[in-house]
């Protein structure tokens, strides 16, 4: 019996079979989750408008319109701890002059959020949950550092890399 257990442990000890073992565990867990129904809480912290609601109203900033007039009154940003975020809503309402021009002449300004400078700054991303956004990019940064270092080492070689330092 003990011999069998040790043989099983040795089988998942190898690096290539470890991934398969983990995938098998994931398959079992997913199978458990498949046959249940899920009850969602109606009182969500980060509310969203109904799908296509702003789009059908002809809003050029759909689906990211959070209201507010620049420098007059803030937009609507719901947050968990309002006492820690005294100036929330002011940045969301602000648009650069170019974006304001684009919003006047196009119906699809909200969906081109990344393709022009100074679009709508989403405060949920950059203010109330700002640490998350920083971390997401730093994960990619760490992965890129590791990958580029290994590739450089494999292509130009150990000796050349040392010589380069001098």
């Amino acid at each position: 019996m003990i011999e069998r257990i040790s043989r099983a442990y040795n089988a998942i000890r190898r690096p290539d079979s470890m991934v398969s073992a983990f995938c098998l565990m994931m398959v079992i867990i997913s199978a458990i989750g498949l046959f249940h129904h899920y009850n969602y809480d109606r009182k969500q912290l980060y509310p969203r408008p109904a799908p296509q609601e702003q789009m059908k109203a002809g809003d050029p900033l759909a689906p990211y319109d959070r209201g507010g007039v620049p420098l007059k009154h803030p937009g609507i940003v719901v947050s968990q701890y309002p006492r820690f975020e005294p100036v929330r809503g002011w940045i969301t309402s602000y648009l650069t002059p170019f974006t304001r021009w684009l919003a006047k002449h196009s119906k699809h300004c909200g969906t081109t959020i990344v393709s022009h400078p100074g679009g709508i700054l989403d405060e949920i991303l950059y203010y109330t949950r700002g640490l998350d956004t920083i971390l997401e990019s730093s994960i990619m940064f760490a992965a890129f550092v590791v990958f580029s270092w290994i590739v450089r080492m494999k292509t130009i070689g150990e000796d050349n890399m040392e010589r380069e330092r001098e």
């Binding site: 995938c23 989750g33 899920y38 809480d41 640490l131 998350d132 994960i139 550092v145 590791v146 290994i150």
Partner: protein
């Protein structure tokens, strides 16, 4: 109310409110002590003893490899410090992903060792797959209860969120097991530890262990 004892200090950082409680402070102190170890030690020659054929193998570590490993060890420890102090479930998963990537890099940047590279590849693959249950679990907790903040989740009555919450916990556990490499998936990391030198192996070891102890505290505070 807090399962980890009295809350000593919190940082008001938007919706994410990192906090230090009694147990967290002990774990954090231990982590920073671990970080001090690679800083003050200095290993330039890595010695390996083979017991089957009595021989001693020595390898001179080049400064550049030492440098990248020190940087990744710093990143790993900082991510672990974030894991220990964070007050938000989604933030916890993000810090854990950063930890997994840095630990993978620590194994993978070993020069002149094919096996270490293979280990790092498979471990990285597992980190990638574990991202799915990790973020899926956080999403299900948000869907079931409507919030992600641990300070709010602690005050909820037991049974809040129903099955979405329970399944979210299962998925989160699977994600932590894959990302930190605990349980039966620990074996390959032990194997790859022998390929890198002691002080950085120590960093991987302790960050994942303390991460899991912190995860148990989060599990205790979820409804």
């Amino acid at each position: 109310m807090y399962p980890s004892g009295q809350i000593l200090y919190y940082i008001p950082l938007g919706d994410i409110v990192p906090y230090i409680s009694t147990i967290n402070a002990v774990i954090l102190a231990l982590l920073l002590a671990v970080l001090a170890l690679p800083i003050f030690s200095n290993t330039d020659i890595y010695v390996e003893v083979d017991h089957k054929i009595p021989r001693i193998k020595a390898k001179i570590v080049m400064p550049r490899e030492d440098k990248i490993k020190a940087a990744l060890a710093l990143g790993s420890t900082m991510a672990a410090a974030g894991v220990v102090t964070t007050g938000d479930v989604f933030n916890f998963t993000l810090f854990l992903s950063l930890l997994g990537i840095c630990n993978m890099g620590l194994i993978g940047t070993t020069v002149g060792d094919e096996f270490a590279l293979e280990c790092a590849f498979n471990y990285g693959l597992m980190c990638l797959i574990a991202g799915l249950p990790l973020f899926g679990g956080a999403a299900l907790i948000l869907a079931g209860t409507g919030t992600l903040s641990l300070h709010q989740l602690m005050h909820m009555p037991p049974g809040a969120g129903g099955w979405a919450m329970e399944y979210g916990k299962i998925l989160l556990t699977a994600g932590v097991v894959g990302e930190a490499g605990v349980g039966p998936f620990y074996a390959v990391k032990v194997d790859s530890f022998r390929r890198i030198w002691g002080r950085y192996a120590f960093v991987i070891h302790l960050t994942t262990l303390l991460t899991f102890s912190r995860y148990l505290e989060i599990l205790a505070s979820l409804p």
